[in-house]
Amino acid sequence: MAHSDSTQNSTVYLNGKLVENPHEDTHHVSPVWEFSLVFGALLFLTILTYLVSYAGLGPASLPVAMLIAFIKGSLVVGFFMHLKYEDRFYAFLLCVTILFVSIFFTFVLFDMSTTAELNEEAGIEYKRHVEDSAEAAEAAAARQAAEAAGAAPAPAAAGHH
């Protein structure tokens, strides 16, 4: 609290919990060996991502690469940026940001992956790219051929995306 002229540093308790006092500030100085250790770990993890990309894990390679990147990120944030020794609120802020980023990602990618859900049952083929002139002519010809053959002209599209 701003203890202007009154010298007492009025620590305020709120139902038993010390109200976060804006004036104390952690002066934690981490030792040099801690930084070098973290730096070494980061270099090792970078080489690890490099190897993982050649290991050819196939579909699993993206989650593994993201996991390694997340570990490297938390090392940088935790030690290089002192978040481990800082006021809890800064870590809370970062977690809220990551929460909003993940909300943004999950909802948009959920929408993109389920766009054809109800349409698929109804047989609507869901085309992503616009038929350019070459494809349009080709599709029109296919449609004529289907009509000539009397088949029900399902909206066949040449070249799925």
């Binding site: 701003a2 202007s4 009025s10 976060e20 943004f104 948009v108 389920t114 859900e117 109800l118």
Partner: protein, 557 residues
Amino acid sequence: MSDDSKKSQSGAQSGAQSEAQSEAHKPEPSYLTAQRGLMSWVVTIDHKRIGLMYLTATLFFFLIAGLLAITLRTELFTGQQDFMSAATYNKVFTLHGAIMVFLFIIPSVPAAMGNFVLPLMLGAKDVAFPKLNLLSFYIYCIAAVMLILTLVLGSLDTGWTFYTPYSKTTGTAVIMATMGAFVAGFSSILTGINFVVTTHKMRAPGMTWNRMPLMVWALYATALIQVMATPVLAITLFLLVIERTLSIGIFDPAMGGDPVLYQHFFWFYSHPAVYIMILPGFGIISELITVHSRKHIFGYRAIAMSSVAIAVISFVVWGHHMFVSGQSELAGIVFSFLTFVVAVPTAIKVFSWVATLYGGSIRYTTPMWYALVFLWTFTIGGLTGVYLGTLSIDVHLHDTYFVVAHFHYVMVGGTVVAFLGGLFHWWPKMFGRMYNETLGRISALLVFIGFNTTFMTQFFLGHQGMPRRYYAYLPEYEAMHQVSTIGSWILAVGLFLVLFTLIHAIKYGERASSNPWNAVSLEWHTASPPIEHNFHTTPTVTGSPYDFPEIDKTGKH
């Protein structure tokens, strides 16, 4: 800055010395008269002066966008072309939307009124980063110049939402307008950072989180949204400009992208933005209703927590703008459910305000009238939001005048009415002058009548199927449009009367005491207009900001 320089030159400290111990030597001059000359305004870092500069700029743009709205409504008086061509009409409605959103309603309550009131309410000498505050104002001015420049470069006809692929292919000055909004976003981020840090670190001794006025809670929640949502607007507009210049194809279907992605990016910012617009209005209403009915707020914790809850949930509901836009139906169902979750805290707030009136001693001053008008219009706005959140009804009502009526009820009926109430409430504190009470009440009545005639008819237009942004319409809708246009004229008269009353009060209003409403929160414990660094001695807070003397503590009530 024209009307600021006409400050009263008396300079003498206003009469009553309300501070704890009166100063021995000549009383300190107020922040308006402490320094003289234009330079003292241009390079000021005093949050009160920056607040006034923001107020003048935002009210100026409110005037411009308001006049655009009047020309719109007058053009729509008949179904045929009256005095504008279709292209001009599209440019006018786009500019009405863009200027209102980016240059008036987002900066007005937080930056103009919040800058003035927040440090005073916290008992602080200034905001945490005064220079950053001034930088935020000048970034706002650059954004304003850029949006005015779009007028010169062929104006903008994409709607304030800049939907692609239309905004990619149209020939109007889309790049200059998007860059203007991009820069306005940074001014909003800086204000947001400033307010979050001020609320955390600059509170007076004894002011715990539960002893803060609810206006501070609302500004804090707004600042959090401003910080967390505006960067996504920055990247969206950045991608749009790159799409137009380098056409990277992320939003352009012909090159493999998808326009619905732009809508996801845009609405991820824009729905939290509508809560940036309304949350400060909630804060003002909590202050007005308690002070003018001499009652402790009903459900302090519920209102404070619902401000933060709205701030958080507002990030998960943006899909309800896109139910029929080709978004997947399953995603639509999820968004519709979450939209109803966000409706509950808003309802709690409205019920708590009405409950605050119970057992009070209500003084019908102008701010109180505006608060009551707010309750009427915001309840209608909120309830019609439920219509648009329901999936099947939104299929029918999406992009019709029902949507136009809904968001005007919440924006004009909500934020603007609360803003006007706040202006009347804090005008004595800002300028040390009382406004003319009868003129104020007449303006409240005119605003109420004009507003409701204009936008109530648009609900019926909407459910009759009248599409939005239509320049010419079917004859069936003509009668309702005419009623709406007449209503908009009444609303315009009401707003001009407000402007006149307030400006007139600065020069000719009689002197206001430091606590005309004998309120309890900290900003009323210093002189009005306040001295340069707010308080002689930093006040210590012992109780809640709503412990009015009239509250009967004897328990017999």
